[in-house]
């Protein structure tokens, strides 16, 4: 397995892993990569945690995501313009748990940040919340 580079000079990605415990991986273009503190994430990454795993991510718009054990979270879309502080952030939690503190993107309009679960879609209006999905 290739390790995720801690930082890529040309592309700082959409967010950075700030906290990682236990087994945490990212699925990117069909490859499974181990995740360490400092790793940069990209759009379409799927973050997975094992029985003992958890991970904390700071997105470029200051959104904070923290994922509990046995989870699967897809970063489906993240477009953010730092100059205008506007964008769109859509993620989906297929299983497990996530705690979200929304950032700049959610301040602009109710549909600018969404989190999907297998049964529902959440629209976020500037907020802290927690979502769990049990199979």
């Amino acid at each position: 397995m290739l390790a995720l580079p801690p930082a890529i000079a040309a592309d700082n990605g959409i967010g950075q892993v700030k906290v990682a415990k236990g087994r945490v991986t990212v699925e990117r273009r069909g490859q499974t990569l181990p995740v360490e503190i400092g790793a940069r994430l990209q759009t379409s990454d799927i973050v997975r945690t094992g029985d003992d795993g958890s991970v904390g991510i700071t997105m470029n718009d200051n959104s904070l995501l923290s994922v509990g054990p046995n989870s699967m979270l897809s970063l489906d879309r993240f477009d953010y313009d730092g100059a205008t502080q506007r964008g769109q952030f859509d993620s989906s939690l297929q299983k497990g748990s996530v705690v979200v503190i929304s950032g700049r993107i959610a301040k602009q309009s109710p549909d600018a940040m969404t989190v999907k679960t297998p049964s529902a879609i959440l629209g976020v209006r500037g907020t802290e919340f927690a979502v769990s999905v049990n199979d």
């Binding site: 700030k18 904390g56 700071t58 994922v67 748990s97 049964s119 529902a120 959440l122 976020v124 049990n134």
Partner: protein, 186 residues
């Protein structure tokens, strides 16, 4: 058979609105098919079971039981600092010079700091002059951070000229509070 399959595809789960640190009014809207539940009070919850989604409440104890490991993995919140400049220069005012040490303490407290430096000017001068000055102010701060050990790929400098004043003024008015950089440490 169709009903059974649908039942198998059901998942259970919960969405909880957590209390906001600064007490701002916030909400999460949970849409499940035609049903819409608005969570706008702390510990308001939407619970999903094979019977459907319903509005409910939860407790800090249940949140801790379900979300303890996720809560323990939360990254530190971003911290923002504002430093002020002497008119027309990329030199800090004496008060801001002192605050620089606080910024370094904050950076040092984070395992993988990622820093955004945004330079601003007051309204004196043309856009061209102010864009260059704002950029120079941000770059000066970035260079200082790098000189003191922050990895270059972890500091971005942006100049916003006079477009985003802290204190709105007519054009060509000198305003010390607008001659600033914001440093976001996250």
């Amino acid at each position: 058979m169709a009903v059974l399959l649908a039942a198998c595809a059901q998942t259970s789960g919960i969405v909880v609105l957590l209390p906001e640190k600064d007490g701002n009014k916030t909400a999460v809207v949970v849409k499940d098919g035609d049903k819409e539940i608005v969570l706008d009070q702390p510990y308001a919850a939407a619970r999903r079971s094979p019977l459907g989604t319903r509005a409910d409440t939860t407790t800090p104890q249940e949140v801790q039981a379900r979300f303890g490991p996720a809560l323990a993995a939360q990254p530190a919140r971003p911290t923002a600092f504002t430093l002020y400049f002497v008119e027309g220069k990329d030199e800090f005012t004496p008060d801001s010079q002192k605050l620089v040490e606080t910024v370094f303490t904050e950076i040092a407290s984070r395992p993988v700091p990622d820093i955004l430096v945004i330079g601003h000017t007051d309204g004196v001068g043309t856009d061209q002059v102010n864009d260059a000055l704002a950029r120079r102010r941000a770059e000066t701060v970035r260079a200082e951070l790098i000189r003191r050990g922050v990895a270059p790929e972890n500091v971005q400098a942006i100049g916003r000229g006079k477009r985003d004043p802290l204190v709105p003024t007519p054009d060509n008015v000198a305003e010390p509070r607008n001659r600033r950089v914001e440093i976001v440490v996250r």
